[in-house]
Symmetry: C2
Subunit: 307 residues, 2 copies
Amino acid sequence: MRGDTPFIAGDWGTSNLRLWLCGADGTVLDRADGPGVAAVPGRAEAAFLDATAAWRAADGPLPALFCGMVGSTIGWVEAAYHPCPANVGSLASGLTRFTALGATMAIIPGLSTRNPQGAPDVMRGEETQILGALASHPDLGIGRRLLCLPGTHAKWVLLRDGTVVMFQTGFSGELFALLRGHSVLGRGTDGLLPQIGPAFIQGVQRSLTSAPLPHLLFEARSRQLLEGMSAQDALSFLSGLVIGADVVGGIAMAADGLDGPVTLVASPILTDAYAAALAATGRDTVALDGGELALAGLLSVRAAILS
Amino acid sequence: MRGDTPFIAGDWGTSNLRLWLCGADGTVLDRADGPGVAAVPGRAEAAFLDATAAWRAADGPLPALFCGMVGSTIGWVEAAYHPCPANVGSLASGLTRFTALGATMAIIPGLSTRNPQGAPDVMRGEETQILGALASHPDLGIGRRLLCLPGTHAKWVLLRDGTVVMFQTGFSGELFALLRGHSVLGRGTDGLLPQIGPAFIQGVQRSLTSAPLPHLLFEARSRQLLEGMSAQDALSFLSGLVIGADVVGGIAMAADGLDGPVTLVASPILTDAYAAALAATGRDTVALDGGELALAGLLSVRAAILS
């Protein structure tokens, strides 16, 4: 990738493709969207060319730098996982490169680690949001920091001086969606959204006890049957149970001490919920909107390549 | 209910109706099956009369004694929950009675408790299996005993001298079914069944650590991605994780000591899995096939009514 031409930065996940046409200096010139990799199995190249046809018609072949599930087995070209510790330099040197219509494509590797539970763990895409958080908030690169990126598969990330030391996946977003959408615990909650209020905090507090989650979940039903809890409150309580359990596992990573508050990276609706749950454990938080951090991370990797 | 006429014993759950035509002395004369209450909303009486038409044609109106979800809000007539402590005498004195075609119908109450987590908890149907276990294995009525009835909503039950002191629901069966059938963790497992082997035990051992379940579940995927774990082993591992978490919560009820092993009540495929998981915690078990215990419990309640 040369430093004197326009290029495309792409955040290509399971459900969405977000593309930015950038000038040589990283200025965003245009945006485009397209289908997530799950929607275009075996047809990623065609989807990319389709989404960028107008740009190529104007500028000719454009190199592209991607992050996310585009590098998975269901993506375009499989990119290896980079083992932790990892930082922007090591990720920039581990790109998977190939060509499409004569232009260089590059995919940022995902990360692998042995997590605090001693098990293998992986992420794809969040590593670039982490780089974006570091690029846009340089203080995060100083000392020992804990980041949480809530989502379908929440990632808890330990940083030391800007390097990802290790991370841990909390299967919380998908678990809540399953319980809400497919279990007896979600009965009667159509159209409702969990609220951050007393019932949510009650659920968090239940998960702060040592009881295993399967022995707490049924409360979301029995409290309706015996205590008159409303379906709305039961849904909020259930969300609190699941997020609380996620938080219990996450803050265990901070046992050796942290510099600064826990940094939350997601949409405001999720960072608000995690902030409330972490507050119930006595932890301070700061929230970053994850929306543009993938772009910031892509740009920081490009800068590292060119430096 | 008089003691000198035939009667019907019925185990009417969400998914199945099992009926036994019994002689005055409790001898089973015939069997019949029908739809679970979920399949006949608002039409339970018609479903019952349909299933018993031949018996009534031969014998005239027959009284019936039921247990299970027939007494729930989605059943025939709502039966209150009986608060713990409870035994056969207190359940027999708490029947909900009504008439159908001139015959007396009676429903055994479910049980409510404040569980070891300090939360309200409920069961419907399992209380009658517990009475059946006590009737068929009188030693269970002596001292402090822990029963586990695995299933969609597993029940862990503390007995003292034949009285249900308290119980705890583990949301384990439904949770495993959700994860297996609807989550990314179940991908590629169609047609497979969890096996009780090293991968299952590995999952149990993971849950015996203090890590919250949401921070362990993703291992069922990452071990496939990074360690070459097979889909079959991942499914068994996932089962071990969920059952292991259930067992952690369950054996906490035995903290004050038990007389005898943990008694498992279910089908052999489930009691084998729980026996293996409990063995990993150093607990001995005995297994009872739950199939006929509901009938034994119904008969013991009838005997208590007549005594």
